[in-house]
Symmetry: C2
Subunit: 288 residues, 2 copies
Amino acid sequence: MFKKTFQRYITMIEQFLTQLQWDKDILNQSMYYSLMGGGKRIRPVLALASAEAVGGNLEIILPAAVSLELIHTYSLIHDDLPAMDNDDYRRGRLSNHKVFGEAQAILAGDALLTYAFELLADSRLDQPARQLRIIHEVAVAAGKSGMVGGQVADVAGEGRALTLNEIEEIHKAKTGALLTVSARLGGILAGGTDEQVKGLTEYAQALGLAFQIKDDILDVVGDSETLGKPVGSDLRQGKSTYVSLLGLEGAGREMHAQILKAQSALKLFDEGAIFLSELANYIEQRQH
Amino acid sequence: MFKKTFQRYITMIEQFLTQLQWDKDILNQSMYYSLMGGGKRIRPVLALASAEAVGGNLEIILPAAVSLELIHTYSLIHDDLPAMDNDDYRRGRLSNHKVFGEAQAILAGDALLTYAFELLADSRLDQPARQLRIIHEVAVAAGKSGMVGGQVADVAGEGRALTLNEIEEIHKAKTGALLTVSARLGGILAGGTDEQVKGLTEYAQALGLAFQIKDDILDVVGDSETLGKPVGSDLRQGKSTYVSLLGLEGAGREMHAQILKAQSALKLFDEGAIFLSELANYIEQRQH
């Protein structure tokens, strides 16, 4: 059941991405290359599942849900640049700038971020007040106090010993904020009550933290082929992680606590949130 | 009168920019550094003057008007990067990456673009339907079929002989679209009629073209100190421009024709658009 629902969401997302207007020029090609790089689509899936948990229409919120994947993809393209993490590979394929060149990769990221807001303002959704609220929330989550700010703090923290609290703050900004807004987007645009949106928010906050702890764990015990990237890079870079601070076992316990916290935030939905609950288990068990 | 009105707009814009929340971290500093780099603020000025031409309240649309300057500034930061135009100076000051480093400059641009949409979705404007329409238009104008697309086409066209038509298409996308949406933003958010918005659109399209022709002219006859950048760079790069195709005199004639076209599009406003009309003269006569 979980797998079938997951697949239903993924199919909707992939079809929507494919049928967007992609011209034949190099800019469109480079945007499309990275968008179709085989990501897990966690953010739009979270949005769709949250919309379904509050009983909303998925087709209508699909453009907004997909916009989150555009923002995530732009951030990966820019993170991979030589001036940033200098990663030649992403999910087992050449990173954007290795295929299209640095200038093009910068511009492809810029255009993806901009396109995301075009989709969020799609008039077919026909809910201006809610859309405007979501656009504001997405901009805050992706911007200087959210994702971009977290990336700056992450780079600034490299090679320095961080406390658990500092790591958590960085993750909250760098990945947590956009994951949280993904669930809120689905809940709000689909007409969820304040209480439902609050539950989805708490769920996504805990899920985001668990997601990040799992990333840290996989960097130590993961298989580089399954992951599509080398393991042990955190250790080599002298990066403070949940594993370096809590040990493997301690990090695993903390992750599990966050998974339980996420699931308990779903209580008010009864059966409507079974998928979200199982998504938390999936995050805990994922191998890549 | 023109100067006084211009100064009133500039003061509003600068004050608003200054009083936005700027934290003390390096990301905020680098965003602020480029924002306060002494630009002409043409885009927000266009928005404010257009709003005033239709009789709107300037204070309320100010956040949206300023968002256009954030988008313009981000594009300059990214354009100056070593992988792009590799410019060490911008308006006589070191470019962003020369002061803060490449990684930071990429992220400062990303954060400025994102912050622009946060401002556009400002709830104090309290006009969700119009704001949503504007957000969509701004995203289109700044994105893959607008500013970013124009930049890609511009880079792709370097060293190749372009036709006048090709140059015009590149400029329309690279600078024209955002200038046009600046005037439309002011007109639409301030409650202008369809006819008024149409007039503002035609005005801004012609003005944008004149602005670009003037840029080409200044690159040949300008003073590098007044401009804050070296002259003759188009020629050295073998770039096709209005001047290389039409000659200095021909380019001047074409610019003047566009100025007249811009001014004639303002007829329906009578005295309400005197500033916009004089702004066109200012653009024609500017030395930097």
